[in-house]
Symmetry: C2
Subunit: 192 residues, 2 copies
DNA sequence: TCCATAAGGTGAGTCTGGTTCCGCTTACGT
DNA sequence: ACGTAAGCGGAACCAGACTCACCTTATGGA
């Protein structure tokens, strides 16, 4: 199953072009760029697009996989550097910053977190696991409540990432994460 | 501008039929029922549909206005009966229960809270005001932090309402509101 | 070097679903 | 009754995702 065949040179080129055209469009805020436009600006026809990507949404997932990878890798590194609760706090802020990368990214994060769209199943699962890691470390250390799962927290973050382009949204987003973070500590074994 | 003319009898009948067909469909989970289906099951043609509603989305807003009204009215009553923080807590749970009414309702609440769709501008504003009322009462009483606005909290609730039909989502939703509630109290003047 | 051939590309066409438009119908005031 | 403005129907239109039958070309072996 891995690399059934190495993919022809022109094919790889086109695939790459499509992906980068998509990233370009999405990051610049045009989350619902038309397939035809993406294809054209990659210099290919729609048929070619569909040779490489199952559907329009599949492309979106692919386009953002890199970002999601970065995000999902963060917890391990953070836990290495900081106490669990601090690591959690930093991760939440990281999430917000990523949502800030471009209006598009925030749309995708929203798709990941706030919907059930099967397109983002994979990303959602990995993200929930990343959060679980942090929560478990925190609750083991007794600084974070232990009755919240990664997927619950993921859900709770959905709204944050849905915020786009509103005046001063970054401030709001930071406040929300602060709110959640305080809530997470509030119920911790020793504090209430 | 008010009642430019009392609307002909058959027209009112049809409008009502459309609205109720839509509510029926939406509440039973089919948030993206087709205009044609709604029209048919109301016993009219699409043309009639568009005589009464600007767009498909406009219908959705209309269909849920009643629910939103109920929700927005709650804070006043709650503040009458309970201390501000308790009123806030109850309101958050009320929101969750409303989202539970039907998969459709939760979709709409999500639309209200987690997007910028102009369709829900009105509902969003009113909801934010309702939350502000509670937050202000709470912060005046010193039991709730004072650095969070209604619209911020609204955003924070976005994810909750986006949850649909997942096994045990109600429990998750309650946990998230508890999380937010604890976070809201955590930063209150006297407690930290 | 050249050919055979399978991988890749093309874009007109299909399909789905929202929206428009215009001619017919009907409620309702006189 | 009747005239007419308000309503209604539904075929036509349009947008945008996706398909398919056919053409083009990279590539590996003779």
């Amino acid at each position: 199953m891995p690399a059934s065949r190495p993919l022809r040179a022109d094919a790889r080129r086109n695939r790459e072009a499509l992906l980068s055209a998509a990233r370009q469009a999405f990051l610049s805020g045009d989350t619902d760029a038309h397939v035809e436009d993406i294809a054209r600006s990659a210099g290919v026809a729609v048929g070619t697009f569909y040779r490489h990507f199952e559907t329009r949404e599949a492309l979106m997932e692919e386009a953002y996989r890199k970002e999601v990878d970065v995000l999902c890798a963060a917890p391990v590194a953070l836990l290495d550097q900081h106490a669990p609760d601090e690591a959690l706090r930093r991760f939440l802020l990281l999430l917000v910053d990523h949502a800030a990368v471009g209006k598009g990214m925030s749309g995708v994060l929203e798709g990941i977190m706030a919907t059930d769209s099967p397109v983002f199943d994979d990303a959602r699962t990995r993200m929930a696991e990343a959060l679980s890691l942090l929560l478990e470390a925190g609750s083991a250390a007794g600084t974070v409540r232990d009755d919240v799962t990664g997927s619950t927290l993921l859900r709770a973050l959905g709204g944050v990432c849905g915020m786009r382009a509103t005046e001063g949204w970054l401030v709001e987003a930071r406040q929300i994460t602060a709110l959640l973070f305080d809530g997470l500590r509030h119920g911790a074994p020793q504090s209430p």
